[in-house]
Structure formats: C-alpha cells, structure tokens
C-alpha cells in the first residue's frame, strides 16, 4: 500500500481527496491529510454568508464522518513544518514524522498585507479564515457598542468586495478603498466598474478609487487611513483584502523551486521540481501564474489524481478564468478575453442601461464571426449561453449585437437556440468540469432518472451553481428525447404536481389526508411536503379552517401562531387596514402587559406580541376575542394585511377613501388559504404611501377610479406589481382581484408567491388580463363562485379553537403535566424582554 500525504485541507485539498476516493484504485492507497485550521475544509468562496446566518458547519465541504467513512486519516490543527525529500517524510510542528510515496502540497495562500506603516494596529484584520471572521465580528460588536460604525476594506477586487459585503452584514458602514481607478481591475473595464459602483453605492456602501494609503492613523488603535494625496478617511476598523500570497514556506525550505514572487513551480502535470511532490491550488505557480479561482484548482486536483494512478492527463496550456458570481447583491460575470489583453484588433459591443443598472460588453473579431470574451454587470442571466458560444467557438448570429440585446426579430428563441445543439464536449459546469456529453450520458445509460440524480452522479451545479438552469434544460430535453415525461411531483408520496392534486381533490371531493394518500398516493405516512400542501388545497377547495385536521398543517397553522426563535409564539390580531380606535389600543396594551409580552409594530400596520408560551396562547386569545379582536392569520399561507395610507378621509392630496377600501378588501379575503402568503395595499393617490405596488395586489386611486396592480412583492427578490386594469370602480376592482387570486390559487406551484407565479405564467400579464378581464378561458364564472364560497364561509379559527375543549388540548406543552417548558430563558431588552441568544 502506498502512502499519499496531502498538506492542506482547503477547498482544493478536499477536492483532491474527493476525486481520489472516487477513483477505482483508491483502496491501494493510504491517504493522510493535514490541515492547520481547526476545522474540516469549508467553502471559502461563500465566506461572507457566515455573517448572514450560516454556521461553520453549514459552510463545511463534507460531513463530519466523511473522512472516516472513506478511510482518510485527517489531522486538523496540525501544521506540517518540514519535508525531508531524501527520507520521503513530513514532520508536524511537534516533530512527529509521517512517510509518503506521493506528497501533495495544497497549502493555499494567505492574505497579502501590504507593508503600510501601522497595519499592526488594533482594529486591522484580514479576510481569509473563519477565525479571521470571528475576530472581526468580535471587534465589530465592541465598535457598535461604543457607537462607532465606520469600517474600510482595503482592496476593491473580488475578495475585497466579498469582504465589504461581510462588513456590511456586520451592521457597519463599509468603505471600499482601491488603489486602481476601477473596481475588480483584473476582470472589469471602466464602464462595468462604474455600473457596479453605482449599484453597490445605492446599497449604502462607499467606494473610494485611485486611493493609495500612506499610513494608518491612530495610536494603538486604528483611527483612519492617510492617503498619499493628502486626503484621509476616518474609520474605526480596517479589513485588508489586497490580494493573496501563496503559502510556499515548507516547499521553499526543502529546496523545491519557487517563483521570484512566490508560488511553488509546477509543470503541466502539476509536478514540482521533485517528481514525487505535486502542488495544486493557490500555492502552485503554473505558466508563471497563480490561479486564485476554485475551478482551475479543482482541475489541478483531478490531474494529480490521474497522475498518481498512472494516467496522462495534463493541465491545458490556456486556463480559462471566466467567472460568474453575485457580489453585494449584484450579478457580475466576465469570460474569455474580457479586457482585450491580447491587444488584437477587435470590435467591442457595449450595452449600458443606467436605469436598470445593467452593463454588457462583448468582444468579437473584426469579421464578426467569433466571440472572444465579455463582461456582464447587473444581469448575468446570459452568461452560460455566452460562455458556451465563446468556449465552443460557435458561429455568431448575423448581427452579433443580438447576443446582448436579444433577438429583436420577435421569434423569442434563446441565444443558444436549442441546448441540445451544443457539441458533446461543451463544458456546462466549469467548477466541476462536467460536459454536456456527461450530463446526457448518465441519463441515457439509466444512471440518472431526474435532475437530482444528474447532480449527484456528475456533481454538475454543485460549485457556484451558475450552470443549474442549463443542467436542468439539458436534463429535461434528454429525458424528453427518451420519451420520459418530466414531472414536478410534490414528493415521494404522490406522483402528481400541485395543480393535478387540486383537480383530483375537487373532482373526488376528498376531505381527509388519509383518503387522498390511500386512494391516490404511494402509501406510507406522507411527509412535511405533501401534508401542508394538501391541507392548503383542502382549505381552498372546501373553505375549511386550519382546525379541521391539525396534524397535517404546517407547524404555525397547527398552533395558529408563529413559532419564534426559542419555541415561544407571537400573537397578531387582525387590525384591518391598520385602523384601530384608542380604546382598542388600550385593550391591546393591557393584554400585552398582562402576559408580559414583547410588543412591536409590524410592517403590515398591526401589533405583534412575542414570547407567548404554548400554554398561554388560548388565554391570550380568549382575552383578545372578548375585546372584539379576531385572528390576524399572520401564521398562515393566507392573506396577511391590506396596508393603507390615510387617503381622502384626512389627506389633502387623497383622491379616494383608501382606508375604507383596504378594510373592505382585508375583511373579504381574510382567512383564505393560498399557495403562499398574500399581501395587499391601497393608496389614496399616486404618491403611493401604502407601497401598494410592492404587494400581491395593489390598488391606487387615480382620476376616474382605481388602478389595479398585481404580482408584486418585497422579500428576497423585490418585484413591482404590474398594471392589470386602469380607472375601474370599487366593484370591478373586487371582481378582478377575486378572479386573479382564485386563478393563482388553482395553478401556482407549492409555496410560489404571485410574483414568481406571474413571472412564469405563459404570456405573462397580457395572458392574465385575457383570463381575468376578457374571460378567455371561460372560467370566470367558476372563479367568481369559488371565491364567493370562500368569502361567505369565513370563520375565526381562534374563536373555534377556544370554544372547543377537544381543540384546546393542542395548546399545552406537556400532555401529562400543566407545567410550562422550563428550558425557556428570557433576557431584558430596552425595558422589554427577548429570548437568550442561541449558543
């Protein structure tokens, strides 16, 4: 058995192990891995997500047991300090020796800290490891507690922008300081940088270009940056992200050849000057270059596995550095020779749309036949297609500008035409080097039956994920070519999608989950996907409340309250249109005080009580109902609120009574279950104080009636609602909203909001107008009738629950004791309370 030793357990080091384990002859080798960090390899590319809630475990590349399961000896927190090439051994910092037959250096790189006077001051950090992030976070907390908020990131490259995003996520004001006159100088031109700058500045970050730092101000602790042009920037913290330096110390000391500016010299087989030692990833100097991206690193790992096993694979002489990513919420991509480094005679085609924040540039040959490279900022949805065209040197359309402007002839074809027209060796996933041939192959040979199988067989799409749409298209097209129907079944228990189940329940009149599972399902018990979905469908079809069959309801619907971080609940009574009397306000205040609840105003103009235990819920609701309140359904996939401005009732600009109309609409659709939550808004004039266009349905008063907008939402992908009808009266507004909502409830996918539904609705808003206004499908009467039933059958489910002793049994923490959960710990917060922090 031969010993293979890997020094370094970063992304590339891990990838080497993964590829090695997957090889047929792995059992003939003993693999030992050393990592100097205290944890297993993690995803450094998405490091900034550590501050937006991901844990170190979430970022981990493998499960805790993976190394053991695969018989890999992993040593974390262990630094290799010496290589003895004569003896073929490595020694760790405690002097313990391990022998090797093949040695892989995957030592990666460290953050480059430029020799600026003062970088040793307190408050100066680098951005590289989880430990760096933890130290930065701890310092940021101290700053915020002291009322300090300004933080700079030195370096406006790819990593610098990631770091700036991380700093922003920490709640500090981020300043990006870049020496070059543009952001991401290695990938972007001036136009692209300008667009990226305005996008990130609109998010509150500040960009300072062409700034060279002379020294860092402050005594012990940083107070600011002094630039050479005599200007300065006052900051309380600095994160240095000015590039990387390869970790070549051990290689250097054992006499391996290294580059003048660092990096372990390797040939195309990734072999160092010692044939038994390989170097891969950011520590390797190949073609006199350090490749700081994950994709080439993964390729290097694959080459070395092949080399050890006696193969003949080599790294290509030209390594593609194309990249597509999301930086501070902005899509950025560059591919091929984006900056015309080759200095050839080319044609540049540029599209700039400052209104939408989109910049696209492509470089094509003078004869207009070949795509050489390009840049996309603000919208990189065409990246995959453009990359394929560039990478496979496909012939360009007659008018090359169609590539970025779209085909304006109106046939709606995609840039690439049919994905199946790509050659088999077209690389679809560049992170994992998966070709079209491999993707189609695993389906054709029966290894994969659906998208999930394709992903697990080929690993396509598991890196940056940018190729996922194309992998899906290829999978669907291949399945279709084999005559296999592509289905979006809801889960393993049903061979139906949501719309089909809706139809089945409606036609067969099923009223219990068991009935549906027994007659139309695949047996078993159901699961957390199909149960709440069927609960929602039955609520829509039969106008049931969530009390009907409460164990198939999503957790929040089961307890008619929103579960919060510590397992307690929040309570939100309906305050239709946001209107309430002073007496009601007093009543609410008294109830909140009685149960010692944390109180806050919600975004939907109501009052939210937090910290109610399961045992308290019915008591609180009884008190609320006694005072005339009812459930606000804040816990359900149902109508939340219809937000309103004060309208012509009080406002001197108001065109109509927005509050009255909002109350009417909220009371009409209250309690109704839908594929996802629904929000509404009514504004009394075009100043739009109710933000109605950010809602699923929004109504705005104009001269001569109301304008009705549909399909908007806030959330992760904000979308403005689109105009459905203009200058219509109250009755028509209601008729159209009825039909729109009912049509949506019938046809949406599970947990799809109206915005996503409308985006994917064939024909879009124009088709919706045809259905809702002109009744093109001839279903308007049914839609009207179904909605009428829902409206008429409304019942407050909390009132139902507290009046039925059997239902009340649900609301106790223990079935064999009246005690409350003794695990709850609250801490004080600004004269109220909050749950103790997690961990």
């Amino acid at each position: 058995m031969k010993n293979v030793v890997v020094i370094g357990n970063g992304m590339v080091g891990y990838k080497f192990c993964e590829k090695f384990v997957a090889s047929e002859k792995f059992s003939e080798y003993k693999l030992t891995v050393f990592g100097e960090e205290p944890r297993r390899a993690y995803d450094r590319v998405h490091l900034s997500e550590y501050y937006s809630g991901k844990t170190a475990e979430d970022l981990s590349m493998s499960s805790a047991s993976w190394y053991e399961e695969n018989n890999i000896d992993l040593h974390v927190s262990e630094m290799i300090t010496e290589i003895d090439r004569e003896e073929k051994t490595v020694a760790n910092h405690r002097g313990i020796k391990y022998s090797y037959d093949y040695l892989i250096l995957a030592t990666g790189s460290s953050a480059f800290v430029p020799p600026i006077p003062g970088v040793e001051k307190e408050g100066v950090f680098v951005y590289r490891t989880i430990e760096d992030l933890e130290a930065t976070e701890a310092f940021a907390k101290k700053l915020k507690a002291a009322g300090k908020t300004e933080a700079a990131v030195l370096g406006g490259g790819l990593l610098g922008l990631e770091a700036a995003n991380a700093v922003k996520n920490l709640g500090l004001n981020a300043h990006i300081v870049e020496f070059a006159p543009r952001l991401m100088p290695r990938q972007l031109d001036k136009g692209a940088s300008d667009m990226l700058q305005s996008k990130i500045e609109s998010l509150g970050l500040k960009v300072h270009l062409s700034k060279q730092t002379q020294f860092i101000q402050g005594d012990k602790t940083i107070e600011g940056l002094q630039y050479v042009d005599d200007t300065e920037l006052k900051v309380d913290m600095l994160v240095v992200s000015a590039g990387i330096r390869p970790r070549d110390e051990v290689a250097r000391e054992c006499g391996l050849e290294v580059g003048t500016r660092g990096g372990i010299l390797v040939n195309n087989q990734m072999q160092t000057t010692d044939p038994n030692i390989y170097a891969i990833g950011e520590c390797a100097l190949l073609n006199n270059m350090i490749y700081g991206l994950v994709a080439p690193g993964y390729d290097m790992a694959e080459i070395v596995v092949d080399q050890i096993l006696g193969g003949e694979k080599e790294m290509p002489s030209y390594i593609d550095m194309s990249t597509q990513l999301k930086l501070i919420g902005t899509e950025v991509a560059s591919f091929g020779d984006a900056l015309n480094d080759a200095k050839e005679e080319i044609d540049e085609i540029t599209y700039v749309n400052k209104r939408n924040g989109v910049y696209k540039k492509i470089n094509v040959t003078k004869d207009g036949k070949k795509l050489l490279g390009g840049i996309l900022v603000g919208d990189s949805s065409d990246y995959n297609a453009l990359f394929q065209i560039y990478n496979t040197a496909m012939k360009l359309p007659e008018e090359p500008e169609d590539l970025i402007l779209g085909n304006r002839g109106g046939d709606g074809g995609s840039l690439l035409g049919d994905v199946m027209d790509l050659p088999d060796d077209a690389q679809i996933c560049s992170c994992e080097s998966v070709t079209k041939g491999q993707i189609c192959g695993v389906i054709q040979n029966g290894e994969a039956k659906d998208l999930a199988d394709v992903v697990s067989c080929t690993k396509a799409g598991t890196g940056c994920g940018g190729c996922k749409p194309m992998v899906k298209d290829l999978t669907d097209a291949t399945l279709k070519s084999l005559g296999i129907e592509v289905k979006d079944n809801i889960c393993e228990h049903f061979d139906y999608n949501r719309q089909e189940l809706y139809h089945i329940i409606q036609v067969k009149g099923y009223t219990t989950f068991d009935e549906i599972l027994d007659k139309n399902g695949n047996g078993g018990h159901g699961c957390e996907l199909c149960k709440p979905l069927i609960a929602s469908l039955m609520a829509t079809i039969h106008a049931d409340t969530a009390n009907k069959e409460y164990t198939i309801q999503d957790s929040n619907d089961r307890f008619l309250a929103n579960i919060q971080r510590n397992g307690t609940y929040s309570v939100v009574p309906r305050i239709a249109g946001g209107e309430l009397t002073a007496q009601q306000l007093i009543d609410l205040g008294e109830i909140g005080k009685r149960y010692d609840l944390y109180t806050k105003i919600t975004g939907g103009q109501r009052i939210d009580f937090f910290g109610a235990t399961l045992n308290q819920l019915p008591k609180i609701w009884k008190d609320l109902i006694d005072k005339g309140f009812e459930s606000g359904h804040a816990y359900g996939k149902s109508l939340r609120t219809v937000k309103s401005c004060v309208g012509s009732t009080w406002c001197r600009y108001g065109m109509d009574e927005s509050v009255s109309f909002a109350i009417e609409l909220e009371n009409r659709y209250r309690g109704m279950r839908s594929p996802h939550k629904i929000k509404g808004g009514v504004s009394g004039c075009i100043r739009e104080c109710a933000e109605a266009r950010g809602k699923d349905f929004g109504v705005i008063a104009v001269e001569g009636g109301w304008n009705l907008y549909v399909g908007g939402n806030g959330g992760a992908t904000p979308r403005h609602a689109e105009l459905l009808a203009e200058q219509i009266d109250n009755e028509t507004v209601i008729k159209y909203i009825d039909r729109f909502l009912m049509f949506y409830m019938r046809t949406a996918k599970p947990l799809q909001r109206t915005a996503a539904w409308l985006d994917r609705l064939e024909g879009g808003i124009e088709h919706l107008k045809e259905v809702v206004i002109n009744d093109k499908l001839g279903i308007a009467k049914d839609l009207d009738q179904e909605m009428k039933t829902l409206v008429n059958k409304f019942e407050c489910e909390w009132k139902q629950a507290i009046e039925d002793p059997e239902m009340m049994k649900r609301f106790s923490h223990f079935v064999n004791s009246d005690d409350d959960d003794d695990n709850l710990v609250f801490v004080p917060l600004r004269e109220q309370k909050m749950p103790q922090h997690w961990k």
Binding site: G524, H525, C527, I552, R565, V815
Partner: protein
C-alpha cells in the same frame, strides 16, 4: 447549552428498567405528536396511527437546542418513519434518531408500549 443533550441517551428495549406511564392514548393526536415530562426530561411521543406504531424521542432539537420536536410534523422517507422539527425542518429518523437531511448529531430515541389504552415510555433510569 449543549449540556441539555447530555441527559438524553437512546434506550434500547432490552435495557429498559422503568416503563413510565405517560398518558392515555387519546391524549395524543392521531398521526401527530405531543410532549410528556419524565423527571427532568422532555420526551416527544408520536402516534403513527396509519400503521398503529408509536415512537418516542428527545423533545430538544440538537440544531438550536429548543424544546420543540414534539410539535413537528411526522411522516416517512423511503419507508423510514421521521419527524421534521418545526423550527428549520431538520428531519430525524424515529427508528435510530439519525438526522436525515443534514449532519446534526442523532437524537435519542426511546421504546414505547401500549397497554390497556395507556402509553408507556421505556427508560433505563
């Protein structure tokens, strides 16, 4: 916080020394769960009525250490009975406690027996 987990250890049927009388069958929802108190322990008990089988496990979710598993939704995955935590939908096998959709530590499971419409949970303490 992790010390909460220390008191929950999976108990095999052959190691049961105490059959704790928890509650009546009718105190538990059909095809759902509820929580019982045994000494300082909180135990989630699930009634898989469709196959007339019962399972019990720790009530604390090892993800964020909150006492909520009993309020989770039950179901099965490839024939394995499971529960989904109501907090973040982490799912656990009720046969061996394994986290089915992640790398969390397994949860402790306990034997359940039904006699004369009374639910008993088996403990070794």
């Amino acid at each position: 916080m992790e010390e909460i987990l220390e008191i929950y250890k999976s108990t095999a049927l052959e190691n049961v020394t105490t059959w704790f009388e928890a509650a009546k069958v009718s105190d538990f929802p059909k095809n759902g769960g509820a929580c019982i108190k045994y000494k300082e322990k909180q135990i989630a008990v699930f009634n898989f009525e469709r196959k007339n089988t019962w399972y019990a496990c720790q009530n604390v979710c090892p993800h964020k250490m909150e006492m909520v598993i009993s309020r989770g939704m039950i179901g099965d995955q490839n024939g394995i009975p499971k529960v989904a935590c109501p907090m973040h939908k982490k799912t656990f096998s009720l046969e061996n406690g394994e986290n089915l959709n992640g790398d969390l530590a397994p949860i402790a499971t306990y034997p359940v027996k039904i006699k004369n419409d009374i639910v008993y949970i088996g403990f070794s303490d």
